[in-house]
């Protein structure tokens, strides 16, 4: 069990360190074990250094940098162990448009192995989707699903 954990951890750590500079356009990040000699009780530490900046505690990162770091870790885990499907509810709300495009690009890479259901109000994410479903409340308080044309959004 400890072996499988270590193997998985090392896989995720490797993927995390590889994906981060692609997601951020540079910089570096690491996952480390707090107790490398005690695999049963160890925790996992995260360090993230956006491009050109000094390595500082996670709390000092900006709202968008934190979201992107967490999204990077998600993709790292999905790379090592693709979940059958993944539901993301507005995870990119704090990303600027340039970062949304990078995020959307990653969705397109990973969707071969993982089905994505992405709730969003950001255009950059919508145009990356294969299809869009709209939720409406024509009758107050009652939700209804409708199909939405991708072209409609691509032109906004």
């Amino acid at each position: 069990v400890a072996d499988r954990f270590l193997e998985t951890f090392q896989g995720v750590a490797k993927a995390f360190a590889r994906i981060f500079p692609i997601m951020f356009g540079g910089g570096e990040a690491r996952l480390t074990l707090t107790l490398p000699d005690d695999l049963l009780h160890t925790g996992v530490d995260i360090s993230a250094q956006p491009p050109g900046k000094k390595l500082q505690q996670l709390s000092l990162l900006s709202g968008g940098e934190r979201a992107l770091t967490a999204i990077t870790l998600l993709f790292a885990i999905l790379q090592v162990r693709p979940a059958p499907f993944c539901v993301l509810d507005e995870v990119e709300a704090s990303l600027d448009d340039a970062n949304i495009d990078r995020f959307a690009h990653f969705l397109q890479q990973y969707q071969k192995h993982t089905q994505f259901i992405v709730i969003t109000h950001r255009r950059g994410t919508m145009v990356a989707a294969d299809r869009l479903y709209g939720v409406t409340m024509q009758e107050s308080g009652v939700s209804k699903m409708v199909s939405v044309s991708l072209k409609e959004f691509a032109n906004q």
Partner: protein, 165 residues
Amino acid sequence: MGLTRLQLKGFKSFADATTIEFSPGITGIVGPNGSGKSNLSESMRWVMGEQSAKGLRGNQMADVIFAGTALRPAVNMAEVTMTFDNRDHALKSALKTLVVRRALYTDGTSEYAINGKTCRLKDITDLFMDSGLGKGSFAIIGQGRVDEILNSKPETRRDLIEEVA
């Protein structure tokens, strides 16, 4: 394994029977504030065995039952059914298609079923164990919760990796 269909009736703002077909790739869900998008993702967590009412933004589990509107009366039952293509057996079952159903009545009665056969909640959660979709799953990220992993304890993150190991 693929999610192929989601059906809701009486779950939160989805008063009427609703069916959504899913295909491989990326499906975007869009709509105005308060239209019901997060309710959709919560219906999936619920049918997969979520037991925390607070985790579904309520005080008690009965809060997921459609409570009525100015023009419509409340209903007495919430029901969600999820259909999976399990030919790769990513879920712990020999079956190729899995239909998971959960219902809750206002009198507190719960119903659970797999492929039409009544079962316990535990049978449903066992199905998703070790698939990355189990309890504490990283695969369903709720609104406003994306950077929770950065705030969580090092031990909690370890559990996350343990879950998929």
